[in-house]
Amino acid sequence: MKANTLIIGYGNADRQDDGVGWHILKNLAEKIGHQVPDDPGEVIEIESEIVDLRFILQIFPELAEVISGYERVCFVDAHTSDIPQEISWSDLDPQYERSPLTHHMSPKTVLSIAATIYGKAPKAILVSVRGYEFQFERSLTPKTAALSEKAQERIWEWINQGE
């Protein structure tokens, strides 16, 4: 059954801490009794009564249609040292953000597309975890792994609070 809350983890799980969204999503899946393949090489879509989970490599325009069907959406990503907090938790408003130089789309942008095309953007938050290394590895650095556990617990609370 489709829930009214969606968690979207995104990033490249083959680039070490960039894949923290994948690791958090994998653990959340296990909490609701689902197994996720060890190879993070495919989109993951899990539906349950509590929460729906989705893992993707990057944000893309047609995700707008998906999120417009939910009441609440939580995006989970890594962040670099540009953001001072180890775990950043922020509300997102639908707002188009242009990619200055390259081929890339942000969560706020896809929310703005949802709001304007489909007439509805969910209440959305972005949880990002500090990444320290972006090498060619699938395992997180110890620092990011520790942070991801904290972030995951807080996301789980958010899921169950229902607000």
Partner: protein, 475 residues
């Protein structure tokens, strides 16, 4: 004359990919500008020691923007290494997947990333100069644009069975046959995709006509052009020989990918990690060239699908049959390629051979060296592998599309900055034009990591004595 410096520095996915530095004269004009790439691509070294047949799965995981292109270029190199020419059906299936990649990447770039600048104007309020602003101009088109990108992505999924990292192409062929229901599913959406692309083409043509003064002075410069062609010099995205023409369209070289080192060398500048490929026989910098949609339509003499060919004829008359050198026409060329890719996808889907069951050549006669090539959305992509007798990679060289266009992007930034930027009070629209010069080439700089940075664009105007006089930033 003393100079001051403006730095445009996006804080991007991996810290410090690229930035633009504009050096100002003390009279407020631009002295010169650079496009720096600060990213260090270590993955060629990372691949050494791996087995060659792993590469079609490894390389897509490195690049998050065009994984299909790396997947297929790598598989093509492995075919040659293994001495196993893929069966006809496998070639058709691979090409179909590649058309999906071209459609999804190009359509997202035009409609969601670059188009709003053009359609709503470089000087429009940034608050409305976006896809949401586009909706105000044409809500139906915006929805269509989302569906067009989805159509391309769906082809990749229907052919390969995965949406992120394809594992479909293997040395000697592919691992999944086509089924009738999937074939029909894809065909059902072709007509609407063509209609949407034609709407986009009309949009860019109308825009160019209405803004011809900008088109004729925005990053306008000559270069050579490089891309794959069919045996009859038609547009080719998946296979064929590499054709290099000069600024007047005269053929300089026609060569197989295996011979790329005879024709392409790489220049190094101390202000960028990214090398600058050029035509060896003309030397640096006379041998610089451009790739991607503009480059491809300048090396091609025709397009072998009817609707794209009709549009190509119109496009070809922009400079009376001479190469189109104006940077902003990259967008027009890009949409013509989308039209071609959709038509070509339909041809492939309607070809009975696509449904064949012979999809893998298991021959194994290991060679020591091979080069795979195709036209990624951004331009020619080369994978060059050398292996030892055990099949372990001893040397890997990848020349990526963005690398080919490195000189052109820097030249475009320099040209646009000199034309539009007037200091010391730099306006947002000026900055946006500098960004747009780079965006026209649709560079792939992120190398697949997606960590959040704040991604501001910052301009520091620095006096000759080093003090910052003005900072302009957009978060």
């Amino acid at each position: 004359m003393a100079t001051e410096k403006i730095t445009i520095e996006p804080v991007t996915r991996i810290e410090g990919h690229a930035k633009v530095t504009i050096h100002m004269n003390d009279n407020g004009s631009v002295d010169h500008a650079y496009f720096h790439v600060n990213e260090f691509r270590g993955f060629e070294k990372f691949c050494e020691g791996r087995m060659y047949f792993e590469m079609p799965q490894i390389t897509p995981r490195i690049c998050g923007i065009c994984p299909v292109s790396h997947h297929l270029a790598s598989a093509k190199a492995c075919d040659i290494l293994m001495g196993a020419e893929p069966p006809h059906t496998a070639v058709l299936l691979r090409e179909l997947m590649h058309m999906g990649q071209i459609i999804q990447s190009h359509s997202m770039h035009f409609f969601e990333l670059a188009g709003p600048d053009l359609i709503l104007g470089f000087d429009a309020d940034p608050e409305i100069r976006n896809v949401v602003g586009l909706i105000g101009a044409d809500p139906e088109l915006t929805l269509r644009a989302v569906q067009l990108r989805k159509f391309g992505q769906d082809i990749i999924y229907q052919v390969g069975g995965r949406r992120i990292h394809p594992n479909f192409a293997v040395p000697g062929g592919v691992n999944r046959v086509m089924t009738e229901d999937r074939r029909e599913h894809m065909l059902a959406n072709v007509e609407r995709a063509i209609e949407t692309t034609q709407i986009g083409i009309k949009l860019i043509k109308d825009w160019a006509n209405a803004n011809i003064a900008d088109v004729e002075k925005f990053a306008v410069f000559h270069s050579g052009y490089l891309g794959l062609v069919t045996p009859q010099n038609g547009l080719e995205l998946y296979d064929g020989n590499i054709r290099l023409v000069d600024k007047d369209g005269k053929q300089l070289e026609l060569f197989g990918a295996q011979n790329y080192l005879e024709n392409i060398a790489e220049h190094v500048e101390d202000w960028s990690y990214l090398k600058f490929p050029y035509y060896k026989k003309m030397g640096w910098p006379d041998g610089v060239y451009r790739v991607g949609p503009l480059g491809r339509l300048n090396v091609a003499e025709k397009i072998d699908t009817p609707l794209a060919q009709a549009e190509f004829k119109v496009y070809h008359q922009i400079n009376n049959g001479n190469p189109v050198y104006q940077t902003l026409y990259y967008h027009y060329a890009r949409l013509i390629e989308v039209l071609f890719a959709i038509e070509r996808a339909r041809e492939l889907l309607e070809n009975p051979d696509l449904m064949g069951k012979d999809i893998l050549n298991k021959k194994h006669d290991l060679k020591s060296e091979a080069v795979g090539v195709l036209e990624a959305p951004r331009g020619t992509l080369l994978h060059h592998y050398k292996v030892n007798p055990n099949g372990q990679l001893e040397n890997v060289n990848l020349i990526v599309s963005t690398g080919h266009n490195n000189w052109a992007m820097s030249e475009a930034v320099d040209s646009v900055a000199k034309t539009y930027v007037k200091g010391p009070n730099v306006k947002e629209g000026m900055l946006n034009r500098v960004e747009a010069a780079i965006r026209a080439y649709d560079p792939c700089l992120s190398c697949s990591t997606h960590a959040i940075g704040q991604m501001p664009i910052k301009i520091d105007i620095v006096d000759p004595d080093g003090t910052i006089r003005q900072t302009l930033q957009r978060d």
